[in-house]
């Protein structure tokens, strides 16, 4: 007859304990997973590690990255916040403000003459475009000497003489980061795509804009830029379709604030490109109609009227067709 085993002698095997714990953990996981998935689905930034890391603070970082791109565009030449404050305070500083970039707008496509068909783009005549090489007035010898250790001449990346190939691409990391940190900010997508076009990366620019459209669906400026990419790729027909879609989208998007500066600038760009394309393709009447449509939105109607009159001289009045879409 065998002796009864004392209770203290019964020791569970470590492997069995581990197995039991693992089974318990697995059971908990199966119970909790659907609830977690439901909670995660409510969070639109669930898959974005930057959003998880920085929260809403990423918008501030995005603005900093965008400003950094502008600093790179000017090869490190940028006013400090104190110089900007002094410029805005002092009436006498108007002239000196004219030589320093004051906002990141100087890297926007509007800054470039490419977009300014009418030469009435406010940026092209703004202080930011004055390529003067004057310096901010120095206050003392310390500042004067200190300036030698900083970029103190207004210049752009395209004037870089260091021998680096295609220096304009240097701003791309900051624009990419800015768009990634704050995907709801339109300028990051537009400016990023513009500079990608400038460095000859048309496909990448298109891809970038499509990413932007996922975050800001149907925005006319993004569709317009897509059209520009197609135009640069030599696909005029698709470019025309996209600009037409951009104009339709504009009417929907800016229905309530068509008089705002941004809306007018956007309308000007789209309609001018539509008019130019129609003219290029020999559809003079359609081009005329687009220019007529643009008239209420143009920041410089007198120049536009002259242009319409020039077009009218080439056009028999009786052959003016209706604009396809309004």
């Amino acid at each position: 007859m065998s002796k009864p085993c004392p209770a203290s002698a019964i020791r569970p095997a470590p492997a069995a304990v581990l197995l039991l714990l693992a089974a318990g953990a697995f059971a908990c996981a199966t119970l909790l997973q659907p609830r977690m998935a439901e909670l995660q689905a409510r969070n639109p930034t669930r898959d974005d590690p930057l959003a998880m890391l920085f929260g809403e603070g990423r918008k501030i970082l995005a603005a900093r990255a965008f400003a950094r791109a502008d600093i790179y565009m000017h090869r490190g030449f940028y006013p400090s916040i104190f110089e900007q404050a002094q410029d805005s305070d002092s009436a006498a500083a108007t002239a000196s403000a004219a030589v320093r970039p004051t906002t990141p707008q100087s890297i926007t496509p509007q800054h470039d003459a490419h977009n300014c068909h009418e030469h009435d783009c406010p940026h092209c005549h703004s202080a930011q475009c004055e390529h003067d090489h004057a310096h901010h007035q120095t206050l003392d010898w310390i500042e004067r000497h200190g300036r030698k250790h900083l970029p103190s001449e207004h210049t752009h990346l395209d004037a870089d003489q260091s021998g680096v190939e295609n220096p304009e691409r240097e701003i791309l990391p900051w624009l990419g980061l800015s768009a990634r940190l704050d995907p709801d900010e339109l300028d990051s997508w537009i400016v990023g795509a513009y500079w990608l076009q400038r460095v000859g990366k048309i496909d990448q620019a298109e891809e970038f804009l499509r990413q932007g459209l996922q975050h800001i669906p149907g925005h006319p400026n993004l569709i317009f830029e897509l059209g520009r990419c197609r135009l640069l790729a030599g696909d005029d027909a698709r470019a025309g379709e996209l600009w037409l879609r951009a104009w339709q989208s504009w009417q929907h998007f800016f229905a309530d604030d068509a008089d705002e500066d941004d809306a007018r600038l956007s309308a000007s760009q789209i309609l001018l490109h539509l008019a130019d394309l129609a003219r290029k393709q020999g559809r003079l009447a359609e081009s005329h109609q687009w220019l007529e449509t643009l008239l209420p939105y143009s920041p410089n109607p007198a120049t536009l009227r002259r242009r319409i009159q020039e077009l009218e001289r080439e056009l028999p009045p009786e052959s003016r067709p209706e604009v396809p879409t309004h």
Binding site: F82, E143, P151, E170, G176
Partner: protein, 258 residues
């Protein structure tokens, strides 16, 4: 002179034995190389953002190395009571101070040489250009910056009783000068009362450490500085280092050691 060089050599050896510099170098290399591996629109050869990150880390770590390593020199000698046999050698107090200064500065130079070698290799291979004169100027000006900071930290170590207090105050001061130093006069002109005057006095009294920071010129491939500017910077750094060392000696020569 031999006594000073002996003390300096001991300080350098001590810093070589410590792991701080290696850890900081490893961090700089890892962070920079990780960022360099990011695909930016399929473009290879984009270098300026990498140069900026790398130089920022180099500056950050150089400030830490210069201040922390210098700040603990004299307190450590006191704590271990090794200062007594050292001064009984006989080594005078000014020789001890000068030896410590030379040792710490030399250690900073060595670590900077390591950091800058990595930076030059990285930017050269990435950009395909080698503006060595600009890099040499950046390195030398950075060394001058370290000289002033080491002297300042040495002064702090004879003024403040605790190492932590010295490190905190010196770091705050250095960062303040680097960020705001060049703007103080501009701010002072906007404040009309006594505070404005005070700011103006501070502006003219502080060492303008921001002069030694030519990162923007390096990152954006500006031409090198002219020789006269570098010579003036060297003289300026030598002057301020001497002022801080003399102040430290004036304080240290009559200070009780225990």
């Amino acid at each position: 002179m031999k006594k000073i060089s002996t003390i300096a050599r001991i300080v350098v050896l001590e810093m070589i034995r410590r792991k701080d510099v290696y850890v900081m170098f490893f961090l700089t290399a890892v962070i920079t190389l990780l960022l360099g591996s990011v695909n930016i629109f399929g473009e290879v050869g984009i270098a300026r953002y990498l140069k900026e990150v790398c130089l920022t880390l180099v500056w950050l770590f150089s400030v830490i190395i210069a201040i922390v390593s210098t700040a603990r020199q004299l307190p450590a000698e006191r704590e271990n009571r090794t200062i007594f046999p050292l001064l009984a050698k006989p080594v005078s107090r000014w020789q001890l101070l000068l030896g410590k200064f030379c040792g710490c500065w030399l250690a900073c130079l060595l670590s900077l040489a390591l950091f800058y070698s990595f930076f030059i290799f990285l930017s050269g291979t990435r950009e395909g250009i080698w503006p060595l004169l600009s890099y040499l100027q950046a390195f030398w000006l950075h060394c001058l910056f370290c000289a002033v900071v080491v002297a300042l930290s040495l002064l702090g170590s004879v003024v403040f009783s605790a190492v932590s207090a010295n490190v905190t105050i010196t770091t705050t001061l250095v960062v303040f000068i680097l960020l705001l130093g060049r703007h103080l006069h501009r701010i002072a002109t906007r404040i009309q009362d006594l505070r404005g005057r005070l700011l103006e006095v501070i502006y003219f009294a502080i060492p303008h450490l921001e002069w030694f920071d030519i990162r923007d010129l390096i990152i954006h491939n500006w031409p090198p500085l002219d020789l006269l500017t570098v010579v003036l910077d060297t003289a300026y750094a030598a002057l301020f280092s001497a002022i801080f060392l003399v102040l430290a000696w004036l304080r240290f020569r009559r200070q009780p050691l225990d």
